[in-house]
């Protein structure tokens, strides 16, 4: 008896993509069965997006592709199919959702019309009116509130999550056999990400659509997919059920990737597992300083001198002081508020006021590692800017290292500026592209002669694991992780007492992220810094910080020792955040085969 194996929905054979200068995909082959949900993970530059754009036939003109790509029920190889045939397939038999919901929709067209268009293009609805009515139904299907009204909205009137729902409605409109999603939730907040992922999972399961979901985030794959491909430098190095790959990875690269993704697992020196990726310069001299956080129950608890009380804001209750420290705290914030006037409003009515921060009070003790976690629009960046005296509060006091900085003049802040240093999120944008690394790192130094400045720059670069010969290069010659090391060197060269980091590792790949986090942890210990780390990523804060404040809608809603807040969250918002970002162990348990 012969079993007829059903034709796969998508079959890719020996796909190679090359630019005039280099081979980018080295012959990858895979099948996706009907209704199968497959994840494709890898770091930036591994070729994930190239794979998806090859399938859609949307590669840039400068790249050439060879091999075969077959779609169930289509006789021609997609790589050689004429453009006219591909136009019939795109958006109809196969559809794609892109990463950036901000820019992927036409800003000048109502979203309902954009959804309707995909049906009129393929003549799947009779006429414009039916297509518009169907668009509203689809918007309801992706759970957009008030779908009829939403259809008339322009993209800028919707939130990022809502825009991604519109993209999904569009992609699913013609009931495609295959849905490709390229980092669909990377730009979204964690709680929104969880909802959108659930929606994608439900939509494809209900309709039996095959799914290829591209992401750098293992948690996303675990949430939605059955099978996972791991890509590394243009090749698929591992392919297997999600549960197996997560718990028992075979390929060394997968093993390292999963270890580096796991921010709750550390080695016996309390350091994150890193991947042996080439780094410019000699390896970091390892410091045997004890880590002051507990990673899991087996590690001995060494608490910082100040231990925060675990508190939450009561609904409707009075404003409260979080993490109140005795003696002289490094940072002391009382009743801090910041309001903005939004432009616009009526001709005669005053401009509407937006509350960035409301009645925020907290302390950070000297030597504490204080994490501030919140989603976009929560006020965390406003708070960070005020702590660094880059913005002025509307009301309240901010004392840093005993000096009041609210309302202080730039002259009075001179000492403050050298004592409080910042590492920013974007390692590309925050370094002047026309300055040499030497000048970038030396810039904060004042009243120091050139020879001494150079010596200090060299020593500082060595401390962040970079060779002295990088001094004469420009920022664009470095990778993201290296640039972030340069930013850290610049921040530390004045020997500050407080280091503020704003999403300092958010733009980095998983492997590089672990290295930079280890470096930050080492340097904070070595220089006895007080660290304020602002992030949307609970995992990063959990690893790096001993105390965490959760900020939502301009208020601190909960604050306490990191482990307590994560294990027994008191505020409903914290609970929601924590459950939206499961740890690797949690994920492994969920997907266990």
């Amino acid at each position: 008896m012969t079993m007829r194996t059903p034709t796969p929905t998508l079959s890719v054979q020996d796909l190679r993509v090359a630019s005039p200068f280099a081979d980018l995909l080295h012959g990858i082959s895979f099948d996706i069965a009907a209704g199968e949900r497959v994840g494709l993970i890898g770091e930036s530059g591994s070729g994930k997006s190239l794979t998806a754009t090859s399938v859609m036939g949307l590669l840039p003109e400068t790249l050439t592709a060879t091999g075969t790509i077959r779609l169930n029920g289509v006789d021609t190889d997609l790589l050689t199919a004429p453009e006219r045939r591909l136009n019939q397939l795109r958006g109809n038999t196969m559809a794609m959702v892109f990463q950036e919901p901000m820019t992927a929709l036409n800003p000048l067209m109502r979203v309902g019309a954009q959804v309707a268009e995909i049906m009129t293009v393929h003549h799947t609805e009779n006429g414009r009116r039916q297509a518009r009515e169907r668009a509203v139904e689809l918007l309801a299907l992706v759970k957009l509130p008030n779908p009829a009204e939403a259809a008339l909205a322009f993209p800028h009137q919707l939130s990022g999550g809502q825009r991604q729902r519109v993209m999904l409605a569009m992609a699913m409109a013609n009931d495609p056999q295959l849905l490709l999603c390229d980092e669909p939730t990377t730009a979204l907040d964690v709680t929104v990400q969880a909802e959108v992922l659930k929606l994608i999972g439900n939509l494809v399961t209900d309709r039996g659509t095959a799914l290829l979901l591209i992401t750098h985030d293992i948690a996303v794959v675990a949430e939605v997919c059955q099978r996972v491909f791991v890509m590394y430098q243009g090749e698929i190095v591992e392919d297997g059920p999600v549960g197996r790959v997560l718990t028992a990875p075979q390929h060394p690269y997968t093993q390292k990737l999963i270890a580096a993704s796991d921010l709750s697992s550390v080695d016996d020196r309390g350091r994150l597992h890193t991947m042996s990726m080439p780094v410019v310069g000699r390896p970091l001299v390892t410091k045997s300083s004890p880590r002051q956080i507990q990673a899991d129950a087996t590690t001995a608890l060494i608490l910082p001198p100040h231990r925060a009380a675990h508190q939450r804001l009561e609904p409707g209750g009075p404003p409260m002081i979080f993490n109140e420290a005795t003696g002289a705290p490094a940072i002391s914030v009382r009743d801090l508020s910041r309001q903005y006037r939004r432009r616009g409003g009526g001709l005669f009515s005053p401009a509407p006021i937006v509350h960035g921060l409301r009645d925020v009070s907290f302390d950070v003790a000297e030597g504490q590692r204080f994490g501030i976690v919140g989603e976009s629009g929560s006020g965390k960046s406003t708070l960070m800017r005020i702590l660094c005296a880059l913005d002025q509060p509307s009301a309240g006091t901010v004392d840093v290292l005993g000096q009041p900085i609210a309302g202080a003049s730039e002259r009075q802040l001179r000492e403050f500026r050298s004592q409080v240093q910042i590492v920013f999120q974007d390692p590309m944008g925050s370094l002047d592209p026309r300055m040499k690394v030497r000048d970038i790192v030396a810039e904060p130094l004042r009243n120091v002669n050139r020879a001494e400045a150079l010596a200090r720059v060299e020593a500082q670069l060595a401390a962040v694991g970079l060779d002295a010969d990088v001094m004469h290069r420009h920022p664009h010659q470095f990778s993201g992780g290296q640039r972030q090391r340069i930013s850290i060197a610049r921040a530390l060269i004045t020997r500050p007492r407080v280091l503020v980091a704003d999403e300092a590792v958010s733009a980095l790949d998983v492997s590089v992220r672990a290295q930079v986090l280890n470096l930050l942890a080492d340097l904070v210990d070595e220089y006895q810094l007080t660290l304020v780390f602002v992030s949307h990523d609970l995992g990063v804060i959990r690893h790096l910080c001993d105390t965490v404040a959760v900020i939502s809608d301009g208020r601190i809603v909960e604050c306490g020792p990191t482990a307590d807040v994560y294990d027994t969250p008191l505020h409903p918002y914290t609970r929601q955040l924590v459950s939206a970002t499961p740890s690797m162990q949690e994920l492994a348990r969920r997907v266990a085969p």
């Binding site: 949307l58 820019t103 800003p107 268009e117």
Partner: protein, 315 residues
């Protein structure tokens, strides 16, 4: 949306009043007595004083301004000190001619620039695209008066198809009006068209790289349809900024072409009146020009608001 438009109108009206004050002040603080200028150097002191009283120059500045601007608002620009004729009709005639010429040339420029710019953008990597792009560079470099003289030499002098200059009122003889309009409009439009096509090209190139064009392709639209339905409206915004600036410059800038073709336009009128030191006329023409440029900016802003929904609530 209505509120945004109302606010724009308010800003427009305020700017017009401020501009009228500035125009009035600038010309009244110029050295030289307007009454003496009107009468000539030989006039006696008594005659000049009588003339000043007749012109109302002995009244305080604020009264003179209110009087002048009040009359301007009802279309009365006063009387020329040179020809003793009312200035209003003279300005209206010249303005009509210049606006006709400028708008025709801009329409011609757009008819050329939009398809040509899109073509050079779409064919960017192909050899023909590079050649076309080079042609428009040459167009940018040729001055308008040179183009005008070339056109006259070829079509008027050698071929004798069209008149070399002058102007015919469309009410009198519409055929003659068109004949006299064609060459100057082409001369004026050619340079504008070349410049505009550069902007159209870069704007289209920019839009073609946008994510939403990729989304449109992923929906099954061909490259051409994606550009047409989603790209062009987005590409129009920066082009319109340039277009508004160009028209504003041309209102006076057309004077060079007007001289080449001996057309009695507004720029020519202004130069004549300046040479004659006919101050009331100069004052009136400058104000008309300022109001026109302001109105143009107002219309461009309004068009932005219509094209781009993001501006409806943001400003």
């Amino acid at each position: 949306m209505v509120l945004v438009v109302l606010r724009r109108i308010g800003v427009f009206a305020t700017t017009v009043v401020v501009a009228s004050i500035v125009t009035f002040l600038m010309l009244s603080i110029l050295p030289g007595n307007a009454a003496r200028i009107a009468l000539g150097v030989q006039a006696s002191e008594a005659d000049v004083a009588a003339q000043a009283t007749r012109m109302g120059l002995d009244r305080p500045g604020i009264v003179r301004y209110v009087d002048w601007f009040g009359h301007v608002l009802i279309g009365d620009f006063g009387t020329s000190t040179v020809s003793r004729q009312p200035i209003g009709p003279e300005i209206t005639d010249a303005l009509g001619i210049t606006v006709t010429l400028v708008l025709t040339s801009v329409v011609l420029a757009l008819l050329f620039a939009i398809p040509f710019g899109i073509l050079t953008a779409v064919r960017q990597r192909k050899p023909d695209g590079a050649i076309l792009s080079g042609i428009s560079q040459i167009g940018v470099a040729v001055p308008g008066f040179l183009a005008g003289m070339l056109l006259v030499t070829v079509f008027a002098v050698t071929l004798r198809w069209l008149p070399a200059g002058g102007w015919v009122d469309p009410g009198e003889d519409f055929g003659g009006f068109l004949e006299h309009l064609i060459l100057p409009a082409i001369a004026l439009g050619s340079v504008q068209g070349a410049v505009l096509s550069r902007y159209v090209r870069s704007s289209v190139l920019e839009v073609m790289r946008e994510d939403f064009i990729r989304t449109a392709r992923a929906k099954g639209l061909g490259a051409g349809r994606a550009l047409f339905w989603h790209g062009l409206r987005n590409a129009a915004v920066p082009v319109m900024t340039v277009l508004g600036l160009q028209i504003a410059t041309l209102l006076v800038g057309a004077v060079v072409i007007e001289r080449v073709f001996s057309i009695p336009g507004l720029g020519s009128l202004l130069l004549d009146k300046v040479a004659l030191r006919d101050l009331p006329a100069v004052q009136g023409i400058v104000l008309v020009l300022v109001v026109f440029v302001l109105a143009l900016n107002f219309l461009v802003d309004l068009a932005f608001t219509v094209i781009d929904p993001r501006l409806r609530s943001a400003r």
